[in-house]
């Protein structure tokens, strides 16, 4: 540009020295910009070069004093320089921001994340809610009964023989002051959940689809595998001419939920007073896949739960006609399931209230 002006023979312009100043300013400015490495320094550079009180402004001011015929040309040249510098600064600014940090000082990115775990539910409650969700999705109601019940609901209704050993105080926690009573008058801590099924059916009738998880009590000597208070999960379907072959849906719902996959099951003969026919339900051993290993005692199957069709006497006790109604029960020990799920080796931990244990299930 300057050369052009010179060629045009504008000697005067050259003589004024302003063009040289602009040229120098541009060069020095560009060098400064490229040297700058911090955004705050760049701000100073911008102020010094193109700011209101910057060098370029000084040059522009002196343009006013130049010969009038030169003013236009000089002004044009100065503005051009300003634009070039501003653009360079903007570009540099972009570059610096792209690789700049928001804060000063070093940072240790290997520090652990902030812990957002809050409290937690008991692992048995968690298992219970998992199963409730699964059964809810199949249209089952959730039911519960008082933990104190009577011999009528714990045994008589459920077809337990009058002399069944489970009725003894060796097995069941009877309440004091009821020792001489029997039936509805003899109270105890419920020894199992099944009594609740008759309560539900008496209240709601049939057909029915419900689960009734809860805690039950047995008078036992405790050790790592035996507890006096433990949790069960029971489900019952009652419908017209319900075949035992349909009962598998209950078994599958539980096992698929717990293991997260389709588990092969088999039903074989089992005896329980309140079912007829009764079953022991086994699942394919997941450790060996059925080949036989220590866990399944080399048979390839693991006994997981009992089940069966409600005994006609139970249905009668519930006010239902066994010639019309039928169904399927399953009952599974929640403690044992949770122990399997996490590898817990002592059932007594569940009632220990020990946070060193419970914290592990958050």
């Amino acid at each position: 540009m300057f050369d052009e002006l010179k060629e045009q023979g504008m000697e005067k312009l050259a003589e004024s020295g302003l063009l040289e100043r602009l040229e120098k300013l541009k060069k020095a400015g560009m060098d400064k910009i490229s040297e700058t490495s911090l955004p705050q320094d760049l701000r100073t550079v911008r102020a010094n070069l193109v700011g209101r009180k910057g060098e370029l402004t000084e040059v522009l001011k002196s343009v006013g004093q130049a010969a009038p015929e030169l003013r236009k040309v000089l002004g044009q040249a100065a503005n051009e320089v300003k634009e070039i510098l501003t653009q360079a600064i903007d570009q540099k600014n972009e570059e610096l921001i792209n690789c700049a940090s928001c804060f000063e000082g070093a940072a240790d990115i290997t520090l652990p994340g902030v812990d957002f775990t809050s409290g937690g539910l008991h692992p048995i409650t968690q298992m219970c809610y998992d199963l409730n969700d699964a059964f809810r999705s199949l249209g089952f109601e959730v039911f519960s009964e008082p933990e104190i019940t009577s011999e009528l609901y714990a045994f008589d209704n459920l077809n337990f023989a009058p002399e069944h050993p489970a009725r003894e105080s060796m097995d069941t926690y009877w309440l004091k002051g009821h020792d001489e009573e029997s039936g509805a008058k003899r109270l105890c801590l419920r020894p199992h959940l099944t009594g609740a099924s008759v309560r539900y059916l008496q209240q709601h009738g049939a057909p029915a689809r419900f689960v009734y998880p809860g805690r039950v009590y047995r008078n036992e000597t405790t050790d790592a595998r035996h507890e006096r208070a433990f949790f069960q999960y029971e489900a019952l379907i009652v419908d017209k001419d319900f075949s035992f072959a349909s009962g598998k849906v209950l078994v599958k719902t539980i096992l698929d939920k717990i293991f997260g996959m389709d588990v092969e099951v088999r039903m074989r003969v089992g005896f329980f007073p309140f079912v007829e026919p009764g079953f022991e339900i086994d699942m394919r051993c997941l450790v060996c896949g059925g080949e036989g290993c220590k866990v399944c005692k080399h048979v390839g199957w693991i006994e997981v739960m009992p089940g069966g069709t409600p005994h006609p006497n139970v249905l009668k006790a519930a006010g239902l006609d066994p010639a019309v109604w039928s169904g399927f029960y399953i009952n599974i020990g929640l403690d044992r399931l949770v122990m399997m799920r996490y590898g817990v080796d002592d059932v007594r931990l569940f009632h220990s209230a020990d946070l060193r244990f419970l914290d592990q299930f958050k």
Partner: protein
Amino acid sequence: MKLSLNWIKKYVDLPEDLTMEKLTYDLTMCTVEVEDAVDLADSLGGLVVGKIITVEPHPDADKLRICTVDVGDMAPSTIVCGGINLTPGQLTVVAKPGAMVRWHGVGDPVEIKPAKLRGVMSYGMICSSGEIGLEELFPASREAEIMDITELGAKPGSPAAEALGLKDIILEIDNKSLTNRPDLWGHYGMARELAAIYDRKLMSLEKSDLPEGSGDLGIVIENPDRCPRYAAITFKNIKNVPSPFELKSMIWRVGMRPINLPVDITNYVMLATGQPTHGFDKNHIKGNIHIRTAKEGEKLELLDGEVLDLTTADLVIADENNPVALAGIMGGKLDSILEDTTEIILELANFTAMGIRRTAKRFDIRTEASSRFEKSVEPQRIDVAIAVAVNMFKEYFPESEIVGLVDSYPLPLKNSEVEVSLSFLSRRLGKELTAEEVIRILDNLGFKTEARDGMFHVTAPSWRSTGDISLPNDILEEVARLMGYENFDFIPPKVVLEKPINQRKVEMERSVREYLAFRCGMQEIFTYPWIEDEYIEASCADTSNMLCLSTPPSPDESRLRSTLIPGMMKGVFTNLRYFDSFRIFELTQVFADKNYHSINDPAEQLPEIARHLCGAFVGPDPRFLFRQAKGALENMHRAVHMEPLSFAQVAARPLWADDKLWLNIMYGEESIGCIGLISLRSARKAGIKRSMTVLFEIDVEKLLPLASRQNRYMRLPEYPCVDFDLSIVFDEKVAWSDIYETASKVELVKEVRFIDEYRGPQVGEGKKSVSFRTRICSNEGTLTSEKIEMITKQMIKKMSKKFDGNVRGA
């Protein structure tokens, strides 16, 4: 229960291609759980028969001998042995070098190696019966006796298991799975079941020729309800001698100890048929046999030496004078088969389950006999047992003679009869069945089936008529299990969609738990319903309406909780060993000995049962813990979907709470619980040291879930609101609730929020500094700084005028 496969095969021809795996699988699926199938020969692996040729003294050891033994090899082996009964010509059991031997018949096999014994090489080992687990079958009369099997006359070098006739498989059946199948307690019963499963013929146990006449013995059954049948056979010319090996071996294999021939025969009869029997010495029985209850003060010394003080509820077998046996459980020591017995009375009797169970339990005695009678044995089984017994005595005591048979059967058992239709079976099994199929299965199982008018009239065999079969469902089970449960395809149940499930009360309990756990940082715990006296005392809980257990887990845990506070205190105590601050809660049922009511059957009166929620906040600062606990309750309603809780001191202070920090928890107008700091006294009694604990307990049964959400949206302010904070020093006694109320009334104030309070030297004795944030909003326009300043001044003025409060630092 143990069963010998060889013994079972005496009664049924099992299919030739039947493998052990298949047999145990089929039995497990159809009938009873087979826990194990043990190959007996396996436990004697590596052992052979050896014939001792020479026995020489050991030059350097008095107690050792050097023997040459024929073990079936080209040349006899030299074996050094410490046995004291080594005789040339004797047959014994030898472990050869290289053999893998299971010592005592169990554990992992160990390899036998040649070894130098006091300078002489020994190639193998001559075994004693104890070393290979056969001490019961070959009892040693002295120590260091080697096993003598000369009487078996086997070939040297042949496998010991074969020579001993121990090529057998022992099935172990889970006793629990036999509960309702008393007919399977014996080899004949199991053979009958297998015959049904595999559709094979069962050998019948024919009656022997029985003598007419009862001899001179009479039977008097005084309690036929407890003893429906009693048969006795009198044999003379009996000797108390050891049983031959074959008989010993049979009963030993299934877990019984051989004793002597007459006793072993009685045990054989029981193991074969499941019918317990007992032998009395005829010369000890005076007059007739009476089956009666014991008299007051009567004693009986049992075979095992225990002397019982009988009660009038115990059934005994007695002669004219004294009890001679505890009926169906164990014989008496003085009158059973003795060393010099030559004439015996063999008892084959039936006792009902209930009485046996009670007496066995009273004296804590369980025997082979009692465990069978407890399961209900049918009286008809005695017929088969008599046949087996008579045959056995004839075989083993050819010179014996039956001098009398009496059989008193006052209460014959009727066979169970069931009416069931084919359509019922088809519908309930979800499979179309044919009448032929059903009749064939039932016939195999011994049921008689008459088909008429679409109905089956089924008569159960006697051995299935003691309670197991009585309903159509029982027949259904028989048919289904023999068809094989795995042969029924899964049928998805049909679902009728009526209305969605809406159980707000159930959901509410879950949302309370989840709110406390996930929003309030509390961990759920479980405690036992029986509470320890120590914590009842610490919590000053009222025991007058607590229910008690008849047989508690321990003497100091007899009371059932009416409150969760004692259990929570124990939970706090337990965890303070490892943590100094934490939050826990429990939500469960509590009970009280009052307000009896019925929920189903009017005859059933249940005590008051409520569901309580109890929480504990543990840490160093009591005031802050109290605010945390209070906050958890205050904010619960949103998450839980209910009307909010509020607080007041309306009822008396809970006895466990500190006087300065407690409140009743209100739900509407009703107090439904309380919150408080555990008092110094209670904390000490509960062993709670160092940390402070704030507890709360509410009756969640009282909480009502809302039908739907009730909170409403509020429009956002049109003009920005402004917050300002103030710290004002008040007298310590001034309550925040009053400050709040006053502050809220100041012009344009939208919200007043507590920030914190401070006590200490900077604000002076008896004073506290309270900081709070005020939000002011205007609907008219943006607030000017003048306006804001004016309101701030107004606020300060009000605080000063009303509470004598001054801006801190001013």
